[in-house]
Point group: C2
Chain length 312, copies 2
């Protein structure tokens, strides 16, 4: 906590035998030693690159988003792709930042015309287990077995990872989860489900009461700090007031990576891999130079799926 | 999510009968209707007022902290009071901000001499149930019965609220929890437990793996956004680098409220009150104009204990 950088120094100071005995196994060390075939490429069609205006020091602010994998939330994800292809977000802004809740962006005026076909889908935020199984007969094989039972939750009968995404199960349905950095679709009252033009990301504790009430369409995989550190709005529920109009963060552009001349490339650690299982276990039972009392469990949102940038 | 401010308008637009039928019961409405005798005064001896340097717009930044109640973490809490009385933090800074983790403050150089008697306590971060019961024979009566069983957790056999603080139980011990806005004592490797001179607060998801490994000494009850929105450090684990020295946030002063000429006054909603039980229930089962699928449970860290400022 205080002196993590000291770990390296300590290692040098110890005799070789003691060094080996104390070799700290941490979530990071498990991820670092995962084999190449345990990493899965994220398709450029599933990556959005959002350029915010530079910060006060003139530094670029790029936020990279991974879109939700099928079969979940796909009508909204299709809308998000259509909006990106239409360059619809260019010139909009992050206009609401509520502490320990959300940063929200899009067209605050709601006057900008949407691309043809981008409408609020008439469907549910959860899927039946049957529909999920229909989509992928191999579902069971892809489920990470580790997280489910040792870590009970207030929010679902079971929680697990499929294709690198945390999911909850209950009442014969499955649904995606609102963890830190996860992105959902703002909406008006039901039956409106939102189009995907106005998006929010969770900037504090998980907001699991939103699960099944709003569509989760993705997560931030790089540059999250550019959203989480924005000044909070003092208007109701974090909207910037008239006096704070200059606090809105302009969005220069949002593009699908597949549209960029030099798209950034990313991989995630397969959630059905041995290293992922080990990673969950070590997160639940820290026992290294710094942590001496293992928690004995881990919340699904505290198992952040490892994602890494790779050079082309 | 999108149009919460519209609730008021809607209420006006509906005929009276429909209005009553739809009267939204929300966590906020439960808290607003709690009776005066369900609120408990926080002693000025348990409140710290931290003045950060004004922000870029010249706005004051005051962070108000409530210190942990007995019998938990008291050796560190005593140190924190002694440090505040010595005005020890005046002229120090917030020198580390790691995204989705902590903001940490104190004397980055670790060269400032500590007041006499402020040393790293030799004790455990958890207490035996017997010690807790010894401290307060009425413990059982003060426990909020609602949160325990309906909301299982990965981190403890039971979680509950005592005297307005979330606690975890297991292995015949009880310990305080690292939720959003909660403050702990930075330390070096064991057996060091930290003095309380270097403190951190959780600025993202709960960090429950820190429970029982570091001392929880309080929580932010006002002005949390002044810590959570600080720029993240790009150095290792969020320390500001040499090039980012100007990003450190100067601390003008930290005072016990009891030392201030006009101390701010606060109350918390008693966790053994009927309104608190109802508040937890509504948080677990949102069913209002916006949320239509109740979660059916709630994580202990998502039950933020209501605290309000009162005029003297």
């Amino acid at each position: 906590m205080k002196h993590l950088p000291v770990i390296a120094t300590l290692a040098f100071a110890l005799p070789a035998a003691a060094q080996e005995a104390r070799e700290p196994v941490t979530p990071a060390s498990v991820v670092a030693s995962a084999s190449a075939d345990e990493w899965v490429t994220i398709s450029p069609e599933d990556i959005l690159v959002m350029e915010l205006a530079p910060d006060a020091r003139g530094n670029e602010r790029t936020v990279v988003i991974q879109l939700m994998s099928p079969p979940f939330s796909q009508p909204w994800v299709d809308n998000v792709r259509a909006l990106a292809e239409a360059h619809w977000w260019d010139g909009t802004s992050v206009y609401r930042v509520q502490d320990n809740y959300v940063a929200q962006w899009g067209d605050e005026t709601e006057e900008r015309a949407l691309p043809e076909g981008v409408v609020s889908p008439s469907t549910s935020f959860a899927l039946s287990i049957a529909a999920v199984a229909d989509f992928d007969a191999n579902l069971e094989a892809m489920v990470s077995p580790v997280i489910s039972n040792p870590s009970p939750s207030a929010y679902a009968s079971e929680e697990l990872f499929v294709r690198g995404w945390p999911l909850a199960l209950g009442d014969m349905t499955a649904w995606p989860i609102h963890c830190y950095g996860y992105i959902g679709v703002a909406r008006d009252y039901a039956p409106d489900t939102g189009t995907g033009a106005e998006l929010y990301t969770i900037i504090g504790q998980p907001q699991r009461h939103m699960d099944r009430n709003l569509a989760v369409v993705g997560r931030v995989i790089e540059g999250m700090e550019h959203l989480s550190s924005l000044p909070r709005g003092t208007g109701e529920v974090g909207f910037y007031t008239q006096d704070e109009a200059d606090l809105r963060t302009p969005i220069i552009s949002v593009r699908l990576a597949s549209e960029l001349p030099e798209p950034p490339a990313y991989e995630y650690l397969a959630s059905d891999s041995e290293s992922f299982a080990r990673y969950v276990e070590v997160r639940a039972n820290r026992d290294d130079a710094f942590y001496t009392v293992p928690a004995g469990g881990v919340d699904v949102c505290s198992v952040q799926v490892p994602v890494r940038r790779v050079s082309e």
